[in-house]
Amino acid sequence: MTLKVGEPLPLVIRAWSSEIPGNPVAKPVKVKRVQRKVPPLLPADIHLVFDTETTTDPAMRCRIGFYQLHYERELIDERLFYDPREAFSGDNKTIKAYAEARRIGEPVTLDDFRTLFLEVIRAGGQFVGLNLPFDLSRIATGSSPTKTRPWNKRMQGGHSLKFRDSSFVPRIQIKHINPRLALISCTVPSQGKARSARKRRDDLPAERGTFNDVRTMASAFLSGSYNLERLCETLKTKTRKRGVEDHGKPLTFDYLDYARHDVQATWDCFCALRARYQSYGMSAPMHTIRSEAGLGKAMLSDMGIKIVRETDPAKIARSLHSYFGGRTEVRIRRVPTRVVLTDFTSMYPTGCSLMGLWRFVISTNTIEREATDEIRQLLAETKAADWQSQDQWRRLTVLVRVKCAGDMFPVRSYYEGEQHASIGLNKLTDNERTHWFTLADCLSSKFQSGKTPEVVEGIAFEPGPPQPNLKPIHLLGRLTIDPYKDDAFRELIAMREREKLRLSNLAGTERTAVEEFRQFLKILGNSTSYGSFLQLNITDEEPKVRRAIHVHGQEPYETLVAKSEQPGPCFNPLLGTLITGAARLMLALAQLRAGEEELGWVFCDTDSLALAKPSNMPDTEFLARAGRVSEWFAPLNPYGLPDSILKLEDVNFAPLTKRHEPLYCYAIASKRYALFNRDDQGRPVIRKASAHGLGHMIEPYGDDDGAPHFPPPLEGLKTGTDRLARWQYDAWYAILSHELSDKADTERVRFDYHPALLQPCLSRFSATSPVMLRWMDNENDGLDYADQVKPFGLLYCLHAKARAPDFTGPDARSGAKAKDIHAVAPFHQDREFAIAQAFDRITGESVSKDQLLTYAEMLFNYPIRQEAKFENGGPFQRGPTEPRHVLASEVHYIGKEADRWQEDFLVGAGFDPTTQFGRNPNEDSGLFDAIREAARIHGQKPVADATGLARGSIRRICEGKSVRTGISLWVIRLGLRTLATRLVSEPAQFSGTIRATEVRGLSGPSLIKPPSEHRQSSEIR
């Protein structure tokens, strides 16, 4: 027997979790009368827009605020509210004088504002603000974690704010989802229903309140992240945000004007976004649109489309098994390379259009048929040139089960040194299992490696008949889509491309209108073509709950999970995996064509590819060949236009002259790269750079205080989607200057060009969950709510140096590893003061400044960040990376991948952002018997030697007892196989002795249990 040579790593595969069938169902309540289901009312046309200004200490107490009350689109009240306890001497007078001078209503206290707030809730009004969770927590009188109840799952893990000490008054629950979205809802207080309604048991909808966070709306309708200043600029509102420096000082008219203008600017932004949404012509109430995906779902709903959901957990698991996100890789690492940056037009809608996935979206069901022989033949005979035909792509609605033997596939694993599983296109060998991939991935594998994967099974999918009663929609009165006749994916992007051609002839408001329309079409196209199909809503479960984990081809197993997943309304993982597979095939074809033109590539990022010039090729030749690579994709344009779908990006051309300007790329790791030109002296002129890995740090210095000897950034980097903060630009400039100098190989990049970089590095985050707020328990102990660090209050995370092992202390003999410091500090406007308050959130001990990493130290390793997914991706290595050859040692199952990676990074390994399902114990159940049998045949000592287990462990196993071991189960199986092969004539061949300590992958104890201790699969049936 010959074992494949490879690097043993655990595979990480998506699985599907469901409630365990057969659980006892609660007894249904006997209802004497028929329950009347009452439809909910739309929010009333009452709007309360408000904003608070706070103190500058960690508690960030509300000092003053402004509100406007609008009724039926008319401003009927505008006032200032204040907390009398926070007044400086003279503030009360200033407030009264200000109200008189500005002719607004008489100021009211914070408590009066709370009364108004509760009245607006009762009247069904709406609340408008920017960053509402923060402002709501400032005006609350207390908070607690939301209760974990079966009816409250959606808000589990959030904060519950109270405004009155009465159980008859609703509380506000806030669940943070991501930096741009929080779910905000009122609770239903006791006596929420009238007595008659309670007697009748009417199913009355509760008054949950309507909270319009302008930041969320902006993210949904404009795509991207906005603060008030940037939003006002984008929407060109009448009122703009002002700057002010007087926080924490006695009130002045200037300061009050600033606060008042903030409210007016917020209202103007809300009105502009509302007008924009109303122009779309969608029927979904605006407050229900919380993200870009919400717009897509609203469009489908207006057409009457209900996405068909698969109910068989095994089939869902099959689709998820084959699912991988977009490819993000670096091929030429840490070498400045001349490139042409290309980008696929609307990659996901294009893929959907080519595969004809709209037919599936409108179908009543999905039909599957066995197609193994057909797929084998296709894979054996197909060539890359065949896939220039649009018709061919319709055949890609296929999933294939493959026996991997060195084939190039996306491999999700814990690559060396990584805390999270990442995906890299590598060679995969698995001698024990088969794996599901899309046909597109199989084709990519064949074209990239030249080897046809061994197909075990192929399932082709076809759409069933279309759903009845679907309706056409009219978007902005300009685009009509009939779901029966038109492919919505194609129509949206085709219209967008046609509008682009008009742009050059337009100016002023007409041009703005077209740009807005195009942006709307882009958001709609992207949101309907991918995200919604894979939406899973995650609920934190405390305590953990037992779920059945489904893996295709195996019996489901039970495990305790910390998060449960509920599918979104459009959840269809089959469509999701087909779409990303097609995108990877596009990239693979582009790379193949580049190779045929003797071009390399530096990086790819889902839909973009940087083609690399070989060092000996003239520039004109390079451009010509890059052009041919692009033209190859012209026949695949599904939008009725002659252009190629693989376009050259604007960054390839000079900003002013629009002439081709030689572009260079320096890539460090996935999503960490910079694109630059070179000036007459050969210095880099940065055109685009990623802030990946830098965005979590607070800026050490402002945009107007850049590094003294560095040239200022181009205008294009100061605003817009490519915006880079000055300090990030300076960091990249330092890296690029160093790499272009003759010291690149002899010295490391120095980040001492600005004194602010020698200060401790701070990351700012807010206490978005009760778990994070608990870190401040020591600070909050004994204080009133007003003086505590509150929910959504700002905190600082500091980065501590690794502790040296302690050879003399009490832990020296035990060899215990020195524990890392997890330094946090309460917010303070004065950073030095905040740093002085730093403490370890685990032990509570204070942390001194010299224990903290500076910005320069944090940045020191940034230029050498490894690309662990590939060979030659080590920190100090340069040049081309190579695919690894991964030998699957074992399989770990996960749910939805990291949705809180930022929190995880900031707070250390306290969070696990990925939903973990662990290993399938059924896979290990045969091991116990195998060890006993081997011990019976060969004896205990040979088994111990072969597997690495202690003899005592072998003895325990022979006695029928469980054993806990740190040795990988894969190594144990390998050892047993070795012993078995010694009995046959062909000896096993290795690439060397594999010792347990050399096996990379997850460490941690494994439990070898007798079969009787495994949960029987019949319990799960």
Partner: protein, 125 residues
């Protein structure tokens, strides 16, 4: 700036929330003030049909009273026949109720009854 009475709007909202509509009205007499208590009347009897119509409480009381004028349907009657009886009774009752209002409307239109003056203090749904 005109003031609004938020407390009143809150009461109104609470009333309308139980109705599930911001424009409740009585199908018999046309009453549409938000503060009026409306109820859902099963047109053909709740045992026989789910369809309802909204009536103000006074019209619903009249309907209930008219229903009491009929004797209960004996239990030994064939269920199909029982349903037909209930349907017929329901239609008779509704017709009587609407006829009352139609007679009033006819009297207003022919002048036999004076049209009441609008007082400006009424519904603001």
């Amino acid at each position: 700036m005109d003031k609004i009475d938020l407390k009143r709007l809150g009461r109104k909202r609470e009333r309308l929330r139980t109705q599930g509509t911001i424009n409740p009205f009585c199908c018999a007499c046309g009453e549409h003030h938000w503060a009026v208590r409306y109820e859902l009347n099963h047109i053909l009897g709740h045992k026989h049909d789910d369809r309802v119509m909204r009536l103000c409480h006074s019209c619903h009381d009249k309907v209930s009273e008219m229903q009491r004028e009929y004797p209960p349907i004996p239990s030994n009657v064939d269920p199909v026949v029982a349903k037909l009886i209930a349907i017929t009774r329901g239609r008779i009752i509704n017709a009587k109720l609407f006829l009352e209002k139609d007679e009033e409307l006819e009297a207003l239109l022919t002048g036999r009854l004076q049209i009441p003056q609008a007082n400006g203090d009424g519904n603001d749904a």
